[in-house]
């Protein structure tokens, strides 16, 4: 027995050593769906940049695959009794890529930057933060102007990403061209509209969990091209795989698919009270009810997405903790739709829907159009570029437009921000004080069970008023080579390179 152990141990060691060196030399190639914007957590906004940022910038907190919050650069947090301040303990021994230490001063710098930098998209997320006190080298206190329980969840995303204060001051606006953070990989180069290369950061605080020497992100806009690159081995992973490509992916023994429902939703926003054009759909809620009765979400998802997405009628997908199970996805009822229109005195109802020239929504809109036609509703499809549509949305120059929300880890960012009277995303012009009361109360408390009760009531109001038409939730599919091990899909769709290794 002893002998065997003596014999095996060196062999085992050799194996381990070998695999360690093998993985240390390895490169992970990730295909992105589009060319991301600047690599700066404060001023970037594209979805694809979040995948890139995740490799280079560590955050104070992160979410787990089942949406719990865990500390990363922080080690813990404590709310004050009045919920007006939160004290965060920081991880010791963390260094930025330029060798600068990560500490309480750095956190204060970063929050200041998010609040004050011109063009900061983070400002709105954390504007309740009045000030940041440095308690000691590794302790900070955030002082708030009002209780805001979603704050910690917000710090699991870009607002919680810490950049090196030294590099931030030196590079200013140009930080996004040469980012310096405290993540597992450090920036090497970016070929414009091409690959972005990162090398392993030797002094990373959690180095044991990093198994690649280099990560390369390559934007490839065409899905056919992206898929063949994965199949040929030119890429190791691809993000947001289209449902129509899944059959091919699954039939290839060399490939694997990761899958998880998204946090966001695909939605038609009605104009119900945003300027004069809000009259058409805003006047009589029965019209909006008729529209909902006339459509069949299940068929829609089947026709356009091969049943790979999740039909949904609420701001969370049906299996989510916050879904109100008393109001399930309704069945199609064309007769009911017709009756409602008749009762509303608008039997031949006509409205126009703005749809950006993007395939998913274009096809879905055509399916909806033909479903509505069967109930006597004429929906005109008006194609407008995304930018034009968003401008029209803010101005109220629309009757309905087809958009999506990418989702936030905390419910607050997916509903209060969209439907409360004064919220920024509320292009609908919707305002119901009762909704505001429930959803507003929920952002001040942190107990999930209590929040769930409030959200259930808010959802009920929303489902009755119908300021929007929720349609489906995507499953986020990640395609990857079978030699990639230990990949875990996250509901935000972001690939965490940490922990992944290759055989």
């Amino acid at each position: 027995m002893m002998n065997l152990k003596k014999l095996l141990l060196p062999m085992l060691m050799a194996c381990l050593l070998f695999s360690a060196t093998a993985s240390a030399q390895s490169i992970l190639r990730i295909g992105l769906n589009d060319d991301p914007d600047g690599i700066d957590p404060t001023v970037s906004r594209s979805y694809s940049i979040r995948l890139v940022l995740a490799a280079v910038c560590d955050k104070l907190f992160d979410i787990t695959p089942d949406q719990k919050i865990i500390p990363v650069l922080a080690t813990g947090y404590q709310w004050s009794k009045d919920n007006l301040s939160v004290t965060i303990k920081l991880r010791p021994g963390v260094k930025f890529h330029d060798g600068e230490p990560f500490n309480a001063e750095a956190v204060r710098y970063n929050i200041d930057r998010s609040l004050n930098m011109k063009g900061s998209f983070r400002k709105v997320e954390i504007e309740a933060v009045k000030s940041v006190d440095v308690i000691d080298n590794l302790t900070v206190r955030f002082n708030l102007s009002e209780p805001l329980s979603p704050l910690i969840a917000t710090l699991t995303d870009r607002a919680g990403m810490m950049i090196s204060p030294k590099a931030g001051k030196e590079l200013g606006d140009k930080f996004g061209t040469a980012p310096v953070c405290a993540g597992p990989f450090k920036f090497v180069e970016r070929v414009a509209q091409g690959r972005i290369v990162f090398d392993r950061f030797a002094d990373y605080w959690d180095s044991a969990n990093v198994h690649f020497n280099r990560v390369i992100f390559t934007p490839i806009t065409d899905s056919t091209v992206r898929l063949s690159a994965l199949r040929s081995g030119e890429l190791d992973m691809i993000e947001r795989v289209s449902p129509t490509d899944l059959k091919q992916l699954r039939s290839d023994p060399k490939l694997r698919v990761g899958q998880i429902p998204e946090q966001g939703y695909q939605v038609i926003r009605y104009n119900i009270n945003n300027g004069p054009r809000g009259k058409l759909l805003g006047e009589d809620p029965r019209v909006r009810e008729a529209i909902e009765a006339a459509i069949d979400r299940q068929t829609l998802v089947k026709v356009v997405f091969d049943n790979e997405y999740i039909p949904g009628n609420q701001w969370v997908q049906p299996k989510n903790y916050y879904y109100n199970s008393k109001i399930p996805v309704p069945k199609r009822d064309v007769e009911k739709a017709k009756a409602l229109l008749k009762a509303a005195g608008k039997p031949n109802f006509t409205f126009s829907l703005i749809v950006p020239p993007e395939r998913d929504r274009q096809e879905a809109a055509q399916v909806l159009q033909s479903m509505l036609a069967e109930a006597g509703i004429k929906m005109n499809i008006v194609s407008q570029e995304n930018v034009t549509m968003l401008t029209a949305g803010t101005k109220g120059d629309f009757e309905a437009y087809f958009t999506f929300w990418s989702g936030r880890p905390d419910p607050d960012g997916n509903m209060y921000q969209h439907f409360s009277c004064k919220s920024r995303q509320n292009d609908q012009g919707y305002c119901n004080p009762k909704f505001d009361a429930f959803a507003g109360k929920a952002r001040q408390i942190s107990n999930p069970a209590e929040r769930k009760k409030l959200y259930d009531q808010a959802t009920e109001i929303l489902m009755r008023d119908r300021p929007v038409l929720m349609l489906w939730h995507r499953n986020i599919f990640t395609g990857y080579n079978a030699k990639i091990r230990n990949f875990t899909p996250y509901p935000d769709g972001i690939i965490r390179v940490k922990g992944i290794w290759t055989s």
Partner: protein, 294 residues
């Protein structure tokens, strides 16, 4: 690349207009041109007769027959929301042919007065018009069209306007060149000596001689315009759903390339067929109207 540039017809102006019979005879002597003419007429006929020819309603969806391969029921298969591809191709001929005719007409109508003005007035007017033309020619045709179509908002009509405006400089240069060449001809000088007004000379003597090269250019540009409409629709800036056009069908087809290639195959073949016929027709026209060019 013919998708993004417009080929330029020979700028040699026809000196004296040849007799109509001679033109016709020269044209009919070219079998390829006659066949092409027949094909173009065939396409036009299909477009006009679409309601009777198409086996199905081109916008009627059938959710039980999505992306079905060609069969006895659906000769060319069905598309991404279960519409008959053949019917959509037949109806799509309307959009494509209109996209050939309207931009060219627009460019012709604009280029003739501007060309006359530029060639006749000379000096600063000419200089500004020509620099503007040069500038537009230096920016790729498709990019001007994309920007214009985005500005006007995506629709078939706007795409056609955008293509017409983007094609204008080629026509303008040609018509001005013709005016300059004809202006110095003896019979024009003579007409002026007799005391004819400028307007009269322009309309009676110069205009008829401008037409042959412009018509040749028109037939070539018609082909380019059809490709341009397809390109804009391919980018989502042309024909709007659910109405079919060959370009928008290709746009929709791109994501189903590997699972339903027939959606992409036939519209492309159609565009090729029409454009090919138009190009041969253009050649025939040139030979008939302007034998010296060859």
């Amino acid at each position: 690349m013919s998708a993004t540039t417009i080929p330029v017809a020979s700028a040699t102006p026809a000196v004296a207009s040849p007799g109509r019979n001679r033109v016709l005879r020269r044209f009919l002597n070219r079998p390829a041109a006659v066949v092409a003419l027949a094909m173009v007429l065939g396409f036009i006929l299909v477009a006009i007769a679409a309601p009777w020819l198409a086996p199905y309603d081109p916008i009627k969806t059938d959710f039980l027959a999505v992306r079905k391969a060609p069969s006895a029921l659906y000769w060319l298969g069905t598309d991404e929301v279960g519409r008959d591809v053949l019917s959509r191709i037949i109806w799509g001929a309307r959009a494509s042919l209109l996209a050939g005719v309207i931009p060219v007409t627009l460019a012709l109508l604009l280029s003739i007065p501007l060309g006359l003005l530029s060639g006749y007035a000379g000096g600063w007017t000419d200089g500004i018009i020509m620099r503007f033309t040069d500038a537009m020619l230096a920016i790729p045709f498709l990019i001007v069209a994309i920007a214009l179509a985005a500005f006007l908002g995506p629709s078939l009509t706007n795409a056609m306007i955008a293509i017409g405006v983007a094609a204008l400089p080629t026509f303008l240069r040609l018509s001005r060149g013709t005016v300059l060449a004809i202006k110095t001809e003896d019979y024009v000088e003579a007409a002026r000596a007799v005391g004819n007004s400028h307007v009269r000379i322009a309309l009676r003597h110069i205009l008829p001689n401008m037409l042959p090269p412009l018509l040749i250019q028109g037939s070539i540009t018609m082909a380019a315009a059809i490709i341009a409409e397809a390109s804009l629709s391919f980018l989502g800036l042309g024909q709007q759903p659910p109405s079919p056009s060959w370009g928008s069908m290709l746009n929709a087809a791109q994501r189903y390339l590997s699972v339903a290639p027939w959606i992409a195959l036939y519209p492309g073949l159609m565009i090729f067929g029409v454009v090919f016929s138009l190009n041969i027709l253009g050649d025939g026209l040139r030979d008939a109207l302007d034998p010296k060019a060859h």
